[in-house]
């Protein structure tokens, strides 16, 4: 029942010079509970605007987004967020970061401590509870961000280029972790990414967005996320199917970029 339903979403920004930018135009989709969605597109296509509206940080110009039948108005605990740089509170320890949400709610400290241990175990950081976050590597920080978001038990998890700042190896490991969590918790997840491969690997469904105005350009239903739960991601990436779709999307985005840049001749 806790589907994410977007209905004719429009977002217009007015720049200080009076120019109106149509960031989103008539975006409608329906994301069922437990689905894994990745959103891909060239820069300026409105991916982040869409995410911010779903998170409740922005008020759409027209149209509605509903989560579980309730219209989204403002940020809430039912939608957890993971950011590119982790956005951890570096003045707190790992455990204090992870239980931030529960502490703000005033939850029972003993229960909270137990939950923190559980989640640190899941993201593979058991025993790091008292470590200051600034001492951890980028990959570890991103795991804490995941745990911090999941401990609140949100209905929907929103990820804004969560793995963008990581090196290639860490990135693959983190992709597996996201898939594992998706499988084990059955959460609805919406991931925004720049990387085509990542979008293919982490998208049961995949939206390709187009810019000016920002809109949904094409939708895919993909098997790779399901496959990734059991197989080595590197093998999946070698399959012909994966390669074909990757090429198709790449040339699609390439064309869009050309259009923006004015088709520059090399």
């Amino acid at each position: 029942m806790s589907d994410l339903v977007s209905d004719n979403l429009n977002m217009k920004f007015t720049t200080p010079s009076g120019l109106v930018v149509h960031a989103l135009k008539d975006v409608s989709f329906n994301l069922k509970k437990g689905e894994l969605l990745s959103v891909l597109g060239p820069s300026g296509c409105g991916k982040t605007t869409l995410l911010n509206i779903v998170a409740g940080f922005l008020n759409p110009t027209s149209g509605t987004v509903k989560l579980g039948g309730t219209e989204i108005r403002g940020p809430g605990v039912d939608r957890g967020m993971v950011f590119q740089q982790g956005a951890l509170f570096e003045w707190l320890t790992v455990a204090q970061n992870v239980d931030f949400g529960l502490r703000m709610k005033g939850a029972d400290p003993i229960e909270t401590a137990k939950k923190v241990d559980e989640w640190l175990e899941i993201v593979g950081l058991a025993g790091f509870g008292d470590t200051p976050t600034y001492q951890l590597s980028g990959g570890m920080q991103q795991r804490i961000a995941l745990a911090r978001c999941l401990i609140n038990d949100p209905d929907l998890i929103l990820m804004d280029e969560p793995l963008g700042a990581l090196d290639a190896l860490t990135r693959e490991k983190m992709q597996s972790l996201v898939l594992k969590i998706w499988k084990e918790t059955g959460k609805t997840i919406m991931i925004i990414t720049h990387s085509v491969e990542e979008a293919l690997m982490l998208g049961e469904r995949l939206f390709v967005m187009a810019p000016r105005p920002g809109r949904l350009h094409k939708e895919y239903q993909l098997p790779f996320a399901e496959m990734g739960l059991t197989q080595d991601p590197r093998d999946i990436k070698k399959t012909q199917h994966f390669g074909e779709i990757r090429e198709e999307i790449l040339s699609m985005i390439w064309d869009m970029e050309e259009e923006i840049m004015g088709g520059g001749t090399l």
Binding site: P75, G76, G80, M81, F83, A87, F89, W91, Y134, R148
Partner: protein, 643 residues
């Protein structure tokens, strides 16, 4: 213990200087060795080359201390404690002979008589050339010209051997003779014979070099000293006798009398002439007063015939030579170990002039610090840092406003017909809030240092608790930024000391004014740093806190405040530095306690040692504040620059 160390300070300094020289040498050798091993690094501008280097720190510190010991003459005193006393006797001779020397081309180019003739002739010439500007009648002008000619001849005739007083030449010969015979005793090491017991006792009784303030023991205490002191006494008498000899010969006296009469006659004539206007009268009286002035210059017989003083001149040159020779190694010591100045003899005391005066000796400075640290001495009846017993009731009363008692229902008690006053609840409350009851006492710090510190701390405290919230508010709200920015930015760029006269006038010279001034300084800095901190909060962190369910208050308290902490703490560190500087200057302007006050009083008394003590105290306290803030910063915000 302290007294013993102070008495032995010359010995301690002597060893310390040797230790410093060894440290300086060894650390330079060590540094050069390390430099030799780094020859392989060919990169210029490699910052790693500036890391470490404790040996160069030792080099620098020993260098500074040695320079201080040297130029303050502490080194000189450590190795030759009697040098100043002996040089004082030498200075006595120099000051005694100075009036006589100044007549001769010894320290300057010309004989005094030559200079006088040149100067006065030129002046007479000038008056003569300007005669027509006085608009005189023909006869008057002729007479004025004649008077000028007579003045000129009265001047130059003094140089004529024909007119000299008959006894003057033998008198000069006698002076030369006396100098020469004194010169002979000068070279005699046993002159003037052993000192009397009284002299010895007096010399021993006087305080040593720098024992009390900056003066130098004035009575001779060494054989060389006795000799120079005796010579000084003799030469002073000779100088006095010499200065009485004037070339006031009969010829000059007659000339002077004649000129005086003629000027008076001319004056009288002018006065009698009723045709002259007021301005014409004034012009004439101006001319005659000029002529009178010239007459006064010439009539004292300060010019002698050339070569009449040759004997005295030669005697003085010979005396000079002996004077320098007899100083021997003392002269060398004076030149090399007491740089930047010399010892001068006054009427009753000798003093160091030059760097030895304004740069106090490190050992004396330390001694002064120890002395005024003694709470029984202090400075201006206030200790530097001590404590006193203060009743708790009084302190509580200071914090509680008196009107609390007024709020209690009922009336204050009145006396009854027997003249008794029965206290009631309301009067008891009043006693409590005014501290009018017996209470136990606790020790409270006090003194100049404490007063300075507490002023900074209080000013800073209010600056922080009011400035930080306003700064955060301004960092988050366009209204607050726009509304408060002009107020802060209008007063902040004004140097705090420019506010001081106004603030001190409004609030008075007691603590309130200074604390308010410091509050103003700290407030502006804290507002700006808290604002910078709040503005610098990453939006994604606030987004994250929102989606984790934090309320607006929680976001402010748990995210924006800790995120601004690095800027806030840096702001506090800057505030402390600026407040410290402002406070000292404000204390100099007004007040009765505080380190700045001490320094200002010491300045008025030219007490360089206390000035240096306050400089050192201010430096150490400032450094201490900064070290505390640095350690607070590393402890509370270890994540800074790593987030």
């Amino acid at each position: 213990m302290m007294d013993f160390l102070f008495e032995q300070r010359n010995t301690i300094v002597a060893f310390l200087i040797i230790g410093l020289i060894i440290a300086l040498t060894l650390s330079i050798i060590k540094g050069r060795q390390i430099m030799a091993t780094e020859r392989t690094d060919l990169v210029f501008g490699n910052p790693a080359k500036a890391l470490g280097g404790w040996y160069w720190i030792i080099t620098g510190m020993s260098f500074v201390l040695l320079i201080w010991f040297y130029f303050s003459w502490d080194a000189a005193r450590a190795y030759n404690p009697t040098a100043a006393n002996e040089l004082c006797q030498v200075a006595k001779v120099e000051s005694a002979i100075k009036p006589m020397r100044s007549l001769f081309p010894i320290d300057k180019q010309n004989l005094r008589g030559t200079d006088l003739i040149a100067r006065d002739s030129a002046q007479l010439e000038r008056i003569n050339n300007n005669l027509q500007t006085f608009a005189l009648q023909r006869a008057e002008e002729v007479e004025a010209s004649a008077i000028l000619a007579s003045l000129k001849s009265a001047l130059v005739d003094q140089a004529n051997p024909a007119y000299i007083k008959s006894n003057l030449i033998p008198e000069f010969a006698g002076i030369a003779q006396r100098i020469n015979s004194l010169n002979a005793s000068f070279s005699n090491p046993t002159f003037p014979g052993p000192p009397t017991n009284d002299q010895k006792a007096a010399a021993e009784a006087q305080p040593g070099w720098g024992d009390t303030g900056k003066e130098i023991p004035v009575l001779p205490a060494t054989p060389l000293g006795y000799r120079y002191a005796a010579i000084a006494a003799e030469i002073r008498i000779i100088t006095k006798d010499f200065s009485k000899l004037r070339n006031t010969n009969p010829h000059l006296l007659a000339q002077v009398a004649d000129i005086d009469r003629r000027i008076k006659a001319a004056k009288a004539q002018t006065k009698a002439n009723l045709d002259l206007s007021k301005s014409e009268q004034d012009a004439r009286s101006k001319l005659y007063s000029q002529l009178n002035k010239m007459l006064k210059r010439i009539d004292d017989g300060a010019v002698y015939p050339p070569n009449s003083l040759s004997d005295v001149h030669l005697a003085l040159l010979a005396f000079d030579k002996t004077h320098i020779e007899q100083q021997g190694s003392l002269k060398t010591f004076d030149t090399w170990m007491m740089p930047g100045g010399r010892i001068m003899a006054g009427n009753s005391a000798c003093s160091e002039q030059g760097s030895g005066r304004w740069l106090p000796k490190p050992s004396d400075t330390l001694g002064t610090l120890v002395r005024i640290s003694d709470p029984d001495i202090g400075f201006k009846d206030v200790p530097l840092l001590w404590y006193r017993w203060q009743p708790v009731g009084g302190m509580l009363a200071f914090l509680l406003p008196d009107w609390i008692a007024n709020l209690v229902p009922g009336e204050y008690p009145r006396h009854n017909q027997y003249g008794e006053i029965n206290s009631n609840f309301k009067s008891k409350v009043q006693d409590f809030v005014t501290g009018n009851y017996e209470s136990f006492s606790i020790p409270i710090p006090m003194g100049h240092m404490w007063d300075s510190i507490i002023r900074v701390v209080i000013g800073l405290f209010f600056g922080i608790i009011l400035g930080v919230p306003l700064g955060l508010f301004m960092g988050l709200s366009r209204f607050a930024k726009g509304f408060f920015d002009p107020m802060v930015e209008l007063y902040r760029p004004v140097p705090p000391l420019a506010w001081a006269p106004l603030i001190l006038t409004i609030f008075g010279i007691q603590d309130d004014g200074k604390i308010f001034l410091l509050f103003m300084v700290a407030f502006a800095i804290m507002v700006i740093s808290a604002r910078t901190g709040a503005t610098g909060t990453q939006l994604s962190k606030i987004h994250a806190a929102h989606s984790l369910g934090a309320s607006n208050r929680q976001i402010l308290r748990r995210v924006i405040l800790p995120n601004s902490l690095p800027e806030i703490l840096t702001g506090i560190r800057i505030s402390i530095g600026v407040c410290w500087g402002t406070l000292v200057a404000a204390e100099m302007l007004a007040g009765t306690t505080g380190i700045g006050f001490v320094e200002n009083v010491a300045r008025k008394q030219s007490d360089y040692e206390v000035i240096w003590v306050t400089i050192i105290i201010l430096g150490v306290l400032g450094l201490m504040f900064d070290l505390i803030m640095r350690s607070v910063i590393t402890r509370t915000i270890p994540w800074r620059g790593k987030g």
